[in-house]
Amino acid sequence: MLKFIIRISAFIRKEIFTILRQPRLVFSLILGPFFILLIFGLGYRNVNRTFETLFVVPEDSQIGELVEQYAESMGTNIQFAGVTSNADEADRRLRAQEVDLVVVTPADPYNDVQNNNQAVFSLYHYEIDPFEQIFVDVLGRRYTEAINQQILLTAAEQGKIEAESMQEHIGAVAATAGSVRTALEAGDGLAASTATEQLNEDINLMMAGLGTGIAIFDSVQETTAAVDEGATTVLESRLAQMQDSLAILQQIDTGQTDFEEEIEAVATIEGALEEIDTVMSEFRRIDAGVLVSPFRSEVLSITNTALEPTHFYVPAVIALLFQHLAVTLAGLSIVREEREGTMELFRASPVSALETLLGKYVSYLLLTAVLALILTALVIFLLQVPMLGNWANYALVLCTLIFTSLGIGFLISINAQSDSQAIQWAMIMLLASIFFSGLFLPLYRLSIFVHILSWSLPATYGTSLLQSVMLRGQSPNILLVLVLLSIGLILFLISWWRLRRKMAHE
């Protein structure tokens, strides 16, 4: 057992000294990744692109006056680059990339609507990046939504003006109803009949102006389900009551002496008017913008800290860097022993494949763990990346990630014919990890068969687990840790088997 430990220690010391003897390598191993993260952290701008936008508006179009106003409503996403009526010139400027976007407005939107068609704003772009294309698509929808909302806003404002005028009518109707009541209470059938005719005219006038603007308010009430009856329903039912009551009043006989039923009808009309007035007041009280857009969203995170976009990428970059570091170190290890001839020395010596492999595993695990410690300290204290989780969990994830990555590296090294081949394979691993580990593309964007590849990369596990630990403060998903560890153990066993064959006689 002692000799077993002595032999393993031979590799541990050898590997560590060999790397530490190369100060440039150590420097690049520690500070290289940190500077990459630092430059990324300092250089990343969380802003959307601004599109230099040219509008093509046919001559004599009314909409031309509005496009700039609408463009400004889009914030910084659209930079107004002017209006032209020359579509060919706009096309030339777009192809020359003098502008980023050309918006062709509809020639006659009113005519389109009259013909039961939607008027179309066409957005032309010259983008080749699919994500930029999606952004242009979203921008187009937001632009037309802004215009549509502007129309609704105008309607709502108009409705409120109408409501104000309506309330004045209601006051007049109420006064007339009061005259009818006075006449009825005085037992003057003739005067009551005369006043009822006036009341009939006033009510008809009021009904003609009601209900156009109030529809928006009614829609808001129904959508939010705030009341049993919407504004329109209230109006319709109260107007119906008023019509019924008016019919009773119109049957007044000048010789009649008992007006109990008629007085009750007047009271109903007064009550209905009061309710309509209340609805109108409520409608007028609400801001037109709120009426048109009664809902807005508010996004709140339940993480305990504010996360910058850079913070999101740091765990994934750490996972990727340490996977690459471990794969490269281990990847060159055995193939280099073979190239330099030391493998022949091992074959003739009592050292076993297990001792060789264990010694190298331990040395690289120690080395990369120290590098990880330094890099993590730099990231936390200099880049101010939050660490919400438990350090033991962080260490567990990182050690498992490095262990499994070393397995891949050793497998590469044992099978590679030369240093350059090992480096090529390590680079392919890196490339695959950049695309498939969730660093830039979320895994849900990848088809299910690509997930098999994704979940065979240690960086995928590392990214997911480190994000949970560092940014959510959660314990790592134990299933993922176990799967990663199992992959690492399988790789270790395969590497051991392959190295035994390699170190056996030829």
């Binding site: 031979a10 050898k14 060999t18 009592p350 006689h505």
Partner: protein, 324 residues
């Protein structure tokens, strides 16, 4: 001692039987049969590419024989475990230690590889003393000379005190003074009861060996002592006689007829020098001088001539090749 023969004073340590190694169609070594006694220096001589290193790798268990068998410590090499390997040291042909490590660290690594206990400072210092690397412990190997690297390799092969040392062309590419020193180390090791199996391209180094195996194109031509090799190449000892005046044809004929002259082998060389083949130079030389006195031949010099092993080797190879 001839190919495959025994009769050594010491027990046999290495024994091969029809040892053959083929790589695809190419036969690297074929039907090697030899034995090596314990405590000897066995030199394996032959031109580059003749199969010396392949034979060494077969004996180390790095290669598996295609046919035949190699036994060391009376055990087939292929069945070697740790305990057998710990009894063997190996110095490969090329320097294979680590340039980024110091001399001390490399030696320490080699010691650990063989499971040598951690308390090894004195042992390492003694070894560095032996190979004259004391004072260079902290130097990075990439910064030391080729000769120092070879000495470090030798120290690394000896670090665990092996009974049997395989040295693959240990003197290859180093200057004659250092080569001589290496052979001094080897003889020192032999005195310390180590057995050495040494391959070399320098035929002259055969003189330092107890036994020499001559290898050509994968075949072992013979295994002999260095003297035995000369005998086989030349047929006996050689005496060079330089008379004051050149011998006449009659005098030469009379010399040929003398009983100490072997096989009528008297040859005139340039400047009147006469080369005479005899059975044994030490007994033939007094008889030659007596004959010269009787013949009133004035002698400038007469002594045994030991031809260089290069000549011996060439002659042997030529003869064996012609015989084959």
């Amino acid at each position: 001692m001839t190919n495959g023969q025994e009769g050594y004073a010491q027990p046999v340590l290495i024994r091969t039987h029809n040892l053959t190694k083929r790589f695809g169609e190419m036969t690297a070594v074929r039907d090697l049969n030899f034995t090596i006694p314990q405590g000897s220096i066995f030199g394996f001589i032959g031109p580059s590419g003749c199969g010396k290193t392949t034979t060494m790798r077969l004996l180390l268990g790095i290669y598996e024989p295609t046919e035949g068998e190699a036994r060391i410590f009376d055990q087939p090499v292929q069945t070697f475990g740790r305990s057998e390997r710990e009894r063997i040291g190996y110095m490969p042909q090329l320097f294979v230690l680590y340039p980024e490590l110091t001399v001390w660290e490399n030696l320490n690594f080699a010691a650990s590889l063989y499971g040598f206990p951690f308390r090894r400072r004195e042992r390492l210092q003694a070894l560095l003393e032996l190979v004259e690397l004391r004072g260079h412990e902290k130097k990075l190997v990439r910064n030391i000379s080729g000769g120092m690297q070879r000495r470090l390799s030798l120290a690394a092969a000896m670090v665990h005190g092996p009974e049997l040392l395989f040295l693959d062309e240990p003197t290859g590419g180093i200057d004659p003074v250092l080569r001589r020193k290496f052979w001094d180390y080897f003889q020192q090791l032999q005195r310390d009861e180590h057995t050495l199996f040494v391959t070399t391209q320098y035929v002259g180094e055969a003189a330092y060996c107890d036994y020499v195996g001559v290898m050509v194109e994968g075949r072992l031509l013979m295994v002999e002592t260095p003297e035995g090799l000369r005998d086989r190449a030349l047929g006996g000892d050689i005496i060079h006689l330089r008379p004051t005046h050149a011998l006449s044809y009659e005098q030469v004929d009379q010399l040929v007829a003398q009983p100490f002259v072997k096989g009528d082998r008297v040859t005139r060389l340039q400047d009147g020098l006469i080369e005479i083949l005899v059975e044994n130079a030490s007994t033939a030389l007094p008889r030659l001088l007596t004959w010269c006195e009787e013949q009133e031949i004035e002698v400038m010099s007469a002594n045994e001539y030991v031809p260089p092993f290069d000549d011996v080797f060439v002659k042997l190879v030529e003869e064996e090749t012609a015989g084959a």
